[in-house]
Symmetry: C2
């Protein structure tokens, strides 16, 4: 498989979840064993020599790619979750959505000060979720080696919210 072919594995669903939105559906990509493994291969090759201590995956599609990458690298996997799901002491961060706000939490003891972290999600849109996760990781002492997503919706300019961080995406939509 080549990177150019990967985009063909994403399903485009018009008007989901609301009218006017073209939803980029990664379920068809992960359903294809070769395409899913290709994505994890790329991430593995990118990070295997970078002395990464922890992968952080964002609820819930970030868990799919993040868990597989942590397994490949043999490093710990940390989950950033919606409120009320993590049972021990947490830090939390709220961020704006188009309508209202959302909140993410992370376990305070999940990353040790100075550990090098890669944050993984399936998709970068406006960047609010990834910016909040970045703040949480740094607040508990982690150092962001990179933020990685499978899909970047370039026209939403999410990189602007993450501008002092290294940001990697595999597939872009203008």
């Amino acid at each position: 498989m080549k990177l150019e072919e990967l985009k063909n594995k994403v399903r485009n669903v018009p008007d989901f979840p609301i009218s006017g939105i073209m939803f980029r559906d990664i379920t068809t990509l992960i359903n294809d064993g070769e395409a899913f493994r290709f994505v994890i291969d790329q991430l593995h090759q990118r990070y295997r020599d970078k002395e990464i201590d922890r992968i952080v995956g964002i609820e819930s599609r970030g868990f799919i790619f993040g868990g597989a990458l942590a397994d490949r690298l043999g490093c710990g996997f940390v989950i950033a979750r919606k409120p009320g799901k993590l049972p021990a002491e947490t830090e939390e961060e709220s961020y704006d959505l188009e309508y209202g706000t959302a909140t993410l939490q992370i376990h305070t003891d999940s990353i040790k000060p100075g550990e090098r972290v890669v944050i993984i999600d399936d998709l970068l849109a406006t960047g609010g979720t990834l910016a909040a996760t970045t703040k949480l990781v740094e607040r508990i002492g982690g150092e962001i080696a990179e933020i990685a997503v499978v899909i970047e919706l370039v026209f939403l300019k999410g990189r602007d919210k993450l501008k002092n961080k290294s940001m990697f995406s595999m597939i872009q939509y203008d």
Copy 2:
């Protein structure tokens, strides 16, 4: 690592999410790179010669283990999700909780008739979630090779709801 040591990696949180419940927290297990990889090693060894076509992971902790296992096996990964998250045509199944009901959906085109499937979740409690997922997989034509969980709460007798299926758990609590 040995299977007996794995239980020590699970954090026990009393009175979460409500008073009287001892919550078995797998975040400490996945946070330990060696322990997480040990779990995926065990699953990989169990299924690698079983001609598995698809792994089905249940939202959201099932995604952590299921994604990594699908990557190891090189097979497709299918996600069973709460309503409103999957953008294409779905089948859905509701099941009873202690108070009220819950619903899971699966994409209708995610499994081809006759494909051999392993369903993965982090934990077997009363079995409602796994029984519903089993029905969904069978309704779209999949054949259940096995259901696998990391933790089984034996005293809740979830196996009774899955009694005609092969069921594998790695850690048990009586």
